[in-house]
Homo-oligomer: 243 residues x 2
DNA sequence: TCGCGTCCTTAACTTTTGTTGGAACCGAAC
DNA sequence: GTTCGGTTCCAACAAAAGTTAAGGACGCGA
């Protein structure tokens, strides 16, 4: 993938959530980025590591997660092309969680130094990125609610719809189909349930004719039921500069 | 409470997490703040509201929470004096959650306009505040793990220790005692369990001689058991500028 | 094409958590 | 002091989720 396409995904995403001038866009497009390939299921930045770069997803799916002493793992967020999952490392140098790939991925690295210089030069751009980290936090808040209050089938539906709405922005929803390349084990880690229970829930949603999940691909069978079950309100995604 | 004391709590907290120059501190101390009193259990900023100010806690305890369609409520964080719980509203104008008091509180309001001007004038201060919002997000990540992966007794112990470590910074831990002014209903909302189950868990921890919780006051009975149960690692609080 | 490994699937059983309903306790207001 | 409302506490039962174990599907590489 050429460097231009990588930057384009980022810019198109930022344009949806913030107001950016054409000058600022040129600045962002001029950022030096070094791309690297990662296989599936591979750590990119580890918990406890000191980061020197931020990582822009050019292609592939990634997740952030934390593993506790008992060995249990919690997935905190799912990331798609155009996102910078570890932007927070700019000011929180020592990682408090792990970033890893789900699928084979192309990642672009931008050094903290470069970003900090850019922010000093252009406070507008700094604000756009700051806002991006705040939206990240808003998604964590919703994730807490999901894991803490919703019954398991709703949790799954909610995570699915959140992912779909974000994929839509980058043009990766095909009718009632979209990608969600997680194993049932990983779905369990995302929802705070075991893989066995994740399987039960998936089976139930299939039998009730709500959604079908097969080999990392979601097919919505009944949009109304799906939305109702998920209890989804997209306000927290702040996908409009006026919000 | 005089305005100076309000600012002092904020500054002492920021000094622990970031490196700030004396000039910057003077700038922060010169911020115009208007104080207001709030009774216990009162909303300060509502979900869906458009904020024009940020709110600095001068005295009292507050929580942030979200309520879902079914009526269930999830507490996202507990806040103590010196914190600015809704700093995120600076760039995410429309609130996606609610901020409310737990106890009678004195809150200082700083207008978004004032803060934005300050950030333009001093990028250093902007970075300190940005970092503060990133620490907020780090706490949400840990909260997800807590609710998603830990058994209920550990969840309670973890929330207690997080609160204690933050209270310690502002000098509000008295030996093995500290304040946690939540009802069992609210504890349930924070841990993602029902009030009845919260009561069971509290009883269990008391019977096992770990902690005692009485009328909003926590007394640690066995520090070793307490720490072990909570599975607490303070790295995510980023209470050191080098992290 | 076979064999291996990963993931998916299911069943039986256990544990945790939710639900309902009620009693005891306590502080604030009258 | 008495009453009242909110909290705390508890028991019995129901539902949700975890655990363990095992068979089946599928894709990949030898």
């Amino acid at each position: 993938m050429p460097g231009d396409a990588i930057r384009a995904a980022l810019v198109s995403r930022l344009r949806i959530s913030s107001t950016i001038s054409e000058d600022d866009i040129r600045e962002i497009e001029a950022l030096p980025i070094s791309a690297r390939q990662f296989p599936a299921e591979t750590p990119v930045v580890r918990d406890g590591e000191r980061a020197t770069d931020c990582c822009l997803i050019a292609d592939g799916f990634c997740v952030r997660s934390k593993t506790i002493a008992s060995g249990k793992r919690q997935i905190l967020s799912i990331h798609i092309p155009g996102e910078i999952p570890d932007l927070m490392s700019l000011f929180l140098r020592v990682m408090d969680h792990e970033l890893s790939t789900l699928t084979p991925s192309t990642l672009g690295f931008i050094s903290h130094e470069t970003l900090q210089k850019l922010h000093r030069r252009s406070p507008n751009i700094a604000e756009v990125f700051w806002r991006d980290t705040l939206i990240d936090a808003a998604m964590f808040r919703e994730w807490i609610v999901n894991v803490g209050q919703r019954p398991a089938p709703s949790r799954l539906a909610h995570v699915m719809i959140e992912l779909r709405e974000r994929l839509r922005i980058i043009g990766r929803v095909d009718g009632s189909n979209f990608e969600m390349p997680l194993t049932q084990e990983q779905i369990g880690d995302a929802l705070g349930i075991t893989a066995v229970h994740a399987n039960r829930v998936i089976k139930q949603l299939r039998q009730e004719g709500v959604v079908e999940l097969h080999r990392g691909r979601v097919t919505v069978l009944d949009e109304r039921k799906f939305l109702e079950l998920a209890d989804f309100d997209d306000r927290y995604l702040h996908q409009s500069p006026t919000l």
